[in-house]
């Protein structure tokens, strides 16, 4: 029997845009400038995050509930934290080390703008940067909405 509550739930939430503002910039730290970035998960949901210069991008994402995995815990031994960096901001990042390049070679749907976000640190020129998760698996919305037609 299909759950009627499920259908009700989907109707209630479908129109609700999910916009979360979170991050590590809550505490007062005047010596570290705020950097606002956006994460877009594989379901297309945007999460706005306020970090500070020096913050690790993977850590910031996870603190904001963005579903990025970090299997090897930032030790450059996997590619599960693979993201696409918005084009204008890509050039402001220090280039990847050889090991990051080698691991990117194992990431599905590799693009020119691909980076492993455990290797990225917030800098002022990254203000407004958008980090997008690759759409490798089918989408599943946190609220239970399942898009049809996959």
């Amino acid at each position: 029997m299909a759950a009627p509550t499920g259908a009700l739930w989907r109707r209630l939430l479908r129109s609700a845009a999910v916009r979360r503002l979170c991050g590590t910039a809550a505490a007062e730290e005047p010596e570290r400038a705020v950097v606002n970035v956006v994460f877009v998960d594989s379901a297309g949901r945007r999460v706005e995050a306020r970090g500070r210069v020096g913050d690790n991008v993977l850590q910031l994402a996870r603190e904001c509930g963005v579903p990025i995995e970090g299997a090897c815990e930032a030790s450059l031994a996997c590619s599960t934290c693979h993201v696409y960096v918005s084009a204008p901001h890509l050039e402001h990042l220090p280039p990847p080390c050889e090991r990051e390049e080698d691991l990117l070679d194992t990431a599905p749907q590799l693009r020119v703008e691909s980076r492993l976000c455990c290797q990225l640190t917030l800098l002022p020129p990254l203000e407004g940067a958008v980090f997008t998760l690759p759409r490798v698996t089918r989408n599943f919305y946190v609220d239970g909405h399942v898009p049809k037609g996959h």
């Binding site: 029997m1 299909a2 759950a3 509550t5 499920g6 009700l8 739930w9 209630l12 939430l13 609700a16 579903p67 995995e69 299997a71 090897c72 815990e73 030790s75 450059l76 031994a77 996997c78 590619s79 599960t80 693979h82 050889e98 090991r99 390049e101 080698d102 691991l103 070679d105 194992t106 990431a107 599905p108 590799l110 490798v136 698996t137 089918r138 599943f140 946190v142 609220d143 239970g144 399942v146």
Partner: protein, 474 residues
């Protein structure tokens, strides 16, 4: 709608729905990532993970090389999942023997098969069963403490080893055979293997593949590690790479970078060799291409391997689909140790589960087992035995997605409540099987870590399942 009200409404709605009970068979990355995704996206689902060994984590524990500890960090993610309220681990339960898939299907709303590939492909050539010939799978299991391979006792008294295959497993074995002992001493390699490697006479390792440099399956990180291995010299024949720089000009980045590294190494090392004395470097490894093993040749007494007769091949077609065709020419390669690294292979688990014997996988569509509602699969048993952590992670999330969709759409009928371990536990008891819980695994874990401490190792793996069970009072 404001966030607090949404959460409240959601909780109220959730509390009206019955809790789905899901069973996962296999506690390696596929099993754990599938469980993780279901638990995260369903507030009520309870997931039980079954494992045939007392200890969890599958290939992360038994496949990843001892000198790659960072890859094993993912165990922390899996431990977090196992410790969650709605997840339970049951080790020492062999599905298909101690409990059938049918019995699991009666006890759970959905069953996910994530039991991986416990066997290997065979060469199918004469002499394959001679002493001194091992499957890569067994050799890796041996140095990683997999109980079924603990008595392998590979003979490392020869100078030359031949590994058949050009994948990462082949490179792992070459690296373990040639690594300076000091590199291995502080890893979780088993004591027994370390002792055997300390007495090893192996100083030359060839990796031979049927096809060419453009078809190698290993990845650049592992190749670079091998090239840079202290105390060793790569032996790559520049003639094998003629014209390839041009051939990969427009290839996808991974193939291009990998080929360029091989070319660079072949040319550099060739120049160096002409200048330096070879005596300076005690150990060598090299890649041989377009060689297809035809027969393992025996020693005069017929007991052990003394070499392998190889057919030289040419390539028909190009890229991944290139085929190796024998030219008629043969070559004999002298060696005392042969490791066949031509692929892992899954085995059928239970007559109730369809199995594609040609591809050695469970036939499925998006992780839904064909023709068996309520049965799913993830990982190597679903896709075939290739891929690294990210591949299995994405694949497992995909299968979990199918389960979640089927729960959402009512394809899985959760209005009928299921007993889960309540039923399975009784079945196991009646058959004299006592499962190992996750906290019991943590006792075994603590014992291994304590034993390793004295030797400066992250752990000293216990390789005897009986010893593991005794340790926890079973």
């Amino acid at each position: 709608m404001a966030a607090p009200a949404r959460v409240g409404l959601r909780r109220w709605l959730s509390s009206r729905a019955p809790a789905p009970r899901i069973c996962v068979v296999g506690s390696g990355p596929a099993g754990f990532y599938t469980a993780q995704h279901i638990l995260k996206h369903h507030d009520l689902a309870q997931v039980d993970i079954y494992e045939k060994l007392p200890v969890p984590f599958g290939l992360v524990r038994f496949g990843v090389a001892p000198d790659h500890p960072e890859v094993k960090n993912v165990i922390n993610t899996f431990t977090h999942t196992a410790r969650s309220d709605r997840c339970a681990y049951y080790g020492n339960v062999t599905v298909g023997r101690d409990v059938t898939v049918g019995e699991l299907q009666q006890a759970y709303h959905a069953v996910v098969l994530s039991y991986g590939a416990e066997d290997n492909r065979v060469l199918g050539i004469p002499g394959e069963n001679l002493s001194g010939v091992y499957s890569a799978r067994a050799f890796v299991g041996w140095y990683n403490g997999l109980p079924e391979n603990r008595d392998l006792k590979p003979d490392l008294s020869c100078e030359t080893a031949l590994i058949l295959g050009h994948g990462n497993v082949a490179l792992d074995i070459a690296r373990i055979l040639l690594s300076p002992l000091d590199f291995l001493r502080k890893t979780d390699i088993t004591d027994c293997s370390l002792a055997a490697l300390a007495c090893s006479k192996v100083k030359r390792v060839w990796l031979a593949g049927r096809r060419g440099p453009l078809q190698v399956a290993f990845t650049i990180k592992e190749l670079r590690e091998m090239i840079n291995l202290p105390g060793t010299q790569p032996v790559l024949n520049p003639a094998d790479f003629t014209g390839l720089e041009n051939a990969v000009k427009d290839a996808p980045r991974p193939r291009k970078r990998l080929t360029e590294l091989m070319i660079k190494t072949a040319l550099e090392k060739h120049r160096e060799k002409a200048v330096m004395a070879q005596a300076a470097v005690p150990r060598q490894w090299g890649l041989k291409f377009q060689r297809s093993p035809q027969e393992v040749l025996p020693t005069a007494d017929g007991m052990r391997v003394r070499g392998v007769r190889m057919a030289l091949t040419r390539l028909e077609g190009s890229g991944d689909s290139a085929k190796a065709v024998p030219t008629g020419d043969m070559e004999e390669l002298e060696c005392g140790l042969v490791l066949s690294s031509i692929g892992y292979r899954s085995l059928p688990l239970d007559p109730a589960v369809p199995f594609d014997t040609q591809h050695s996988i469970i036939p499925n569509n998006l992780g839904r087992v064909m023709g068996v509602p309520g049965l799913y699969c993830s990982g190597w048993v679903k896709r075939g035995p290739v891929g690294v952590i990210i591949t299995t992670m994405n694949d497992s999330f995909d299968t979990a997605q199918s389960v979640l969709e089927d729960l959402q759409e009512g394809v899985l009928d959760v209005s009928v409540s299921k007993e889960g371990f309540g039923a399975v536990g009784s079945i196991l008891r009646s058959r004299g099987i006592r499962p190992v819980s996750f906290s019991e695994w943590e006792k075994i874990d603590a014992a291994e870590v304590a034993r390793g401490k004295a030797a400066g190792k992250p752990r000293e793996k216990i390789v005897d399942p009986q010893e593991m069970l005794q340790l926890i009072g079973h």
